[in-house]
Symmetry: C2
Amino acid sequence: MHQTLVTNIHQLINVRQQTSLPKGSQLAELRVLKNAFLLIEDGKIVAWGEMDKMPPFTNEGIDRIDAKGASVLPCWCDSHTHIVFAASREEEFVDKIKGLSYAEIAAKGGGILNSAKKLNAASEDELYNAAIQRLHELIKLGTGAIEIKSGYGLCLEGELKMLRVIKRLKETVPIPVKATFLGAHTYPLEYKRDHAGYIRLITDEMLPAIASEGLADYIDAFCEEGFFSAAETETVCRAGERHGLKPKLHVNQLNSIGGIETGLKLNAVSLDHLEVMNADEITKLAKSATIATLLPSAAFFLRMPYQPARALIDAGATVALATDFNPGSSPSGNMGFVVSLACIQMKMLPEEAINAATLNGAYAMGLGDELGSITIGKKANLIFTKPIPSVAYLPYAFGTNLIDKVMIEGKFV
Amino acid sequence: MHQTLVTNIHQLINVRQQTSLPKGSQLAELRVLKNAFLLIEDGKIVAWGEMDKMPPFTNEGIDRIDAKGASVLPCWCDSHTHIVFAASREEEFVDKIKGLSYAEIAAKGGGILNSAKKLNAASEDELYNAAIQRLHELIKLGTGAIEIKSGYGLCLEGELKMLRVIKRLKETVPIPVKATFLGAHTYPLEYKRDHAGYIRLITDEMLPAIASEGLADYIDAFCEEGFFSAAETETVCRAGERHGLKPKLHVNQLNSIGGIETGLKLNAVSLDHLEVMNADEITKLAKSATIATLLPSAAFFLRMPYQPARALIDAGATVALATDFNPGSSPSGNMGFVVSLACIQMKMLPEEAINAATLNGAYAMGLGDELGSITIGKKANLIFTKPIPSVAYLPYAFGTNLIDKVMIEGKFV
């Protein structure tokens, strides 16, 4: 048994006796304990409270850390990323600035198929080495749990390679990693006129192979005009279900084509993106147990309207925030910046944004009992900030990295 | 004489034989030398070139730095900030998210007058200690020259106190600091109905006192509806001129009220903000020698339309980028993020944004001969990046701090 006592914490942020998934107006409930201590045992939180009520803790061998006025909050839980990729795509970024259309960029070999081409040319080791470097950078930025999608393979071998890389990441990084199979990311060129053929490849070849190696936790599809229809999305997800994979879906990024209804029918764990939502869809989603995962970095980078966070929260929806880190539409895995964007651009309150990026992100990966709040029994995956005067200062000081140190299972990284 | 030789630079960015102020389409001209070396002598650049043409440099005592594939660019030159302030204002940020109007926030004691109240209550030492800490953080973010404004005093003693703090910063930080007198930031409460009286205070009391202590390099006014009219701005600037202060002005942030015409008549060094510009103003500014300084962080934080960077550049204007770091409308001094915003939101090319944030920023502070490019004779104020595949990667990877080390006058900070 190894104990670590953290004293003199200026603000202990997101303290909860027990957790359930905060919905709607509950998202603004963020308990902050001033002048606090925290006790960690074997990587887990075992006690917390106010400094002036701290028991003596005379145990021999206890490690003592003086937080010296740092604020401490649970690590970010980033529930939507694509961080296994072979190469950045800044040349497409420049083409877009120059005014090239999506079709013109695609004609030059850009877009998801660009990433797919490069991914299929890269070895598993190359992909793993690049991804683990990215992941260690993200941990330094405070990410303490992450979901990673496949979807740049678009063929049996490529998808298996990506998912094997994610499996190796699971085994080698100190934070929880969840794997999502996104074979239905786009149609590869050879199946451009044979959607049914590609869907059969997903359902009849990819999924059985993935299941037999235990490579995925979730199934995803890009439900969008020109990509996967609501019916195609359902076919893919039903096949995933038969292999024990719950859906987490890309819906309503560019168009509303029935993805919300399909996702709710499938009891999706989360429906992600949601830039384009009508009032009826907001109401339906708010009434459900499905998490609405907003990805403001993608809207920011693509100069698109932001997700209707306020309308969703006010309707009672369960909102989470994630980065969508990927080389095409969101080349950033900085959850602190996502929290700033959520407040500055989507008018979420700092308390709402922090809950959405921690506890609700954890629930969006099935990790709500392990992470996302300062709760006894949860993992001590914690962010220690530089001195900050208030919780609101975190999103307010948007250009500043306020993270001083990151602790994973009780140890500073 | 002390020499430092930097070898194995992957990309030496913004290399110039000599410099003049790039206008319009010239802004996209950014020379990048691959696989380069750089020689520094007593804090200044004395030679640069390709590695395979590097002379032997056998001088005794020469320091050698292996850049190991870092890219090297001139430090950012941030020509518009308000970094001397007493307190952050995140409570107003939250009020704005909650939907309070500017008038309601002002009625609660918010806005510039909030900063003025807190500044006048703070001692010179307190202000200096807070500001120098901010400045050291900015240097770590790559800022190698900075302009700082007064304007939170709004009374003789308060303005002198701020400018004395800026003078102490000039004397104690290793980077060039320029001071701008912004007594005409807003009308203090006691002069709300006596604009002429406050302007007389500026022209007849503040300016002579400031000039006698040599406290300012430039004069500024907030030319805006409800603040200083074009005629009032001219009166203030003419008085400043008589004390040797050139104008750098806040114009067209919220409304077009003649600030451009006035600024051009006054031969302003720069006209800053420019969110709201009509075609005629763009043409006039483009034809002039005045620099158009764009502050996208303020537009971002206030959820306002961005400055028309493309129209200005395409019309031939001389565009610079700065942070506007201040506690109310731009609580960030991160020039790297400004460069990202310029590309992502204002469609500037990466080359244009880097020139605007380095060389043109230097010229906007009268430092074009000393800083802002890799040119023989200029100060070796340099950013060493983490490995980056291309120049465009800098703005593209918007959530990542790509700065590895910062060198000021040849020494790593």
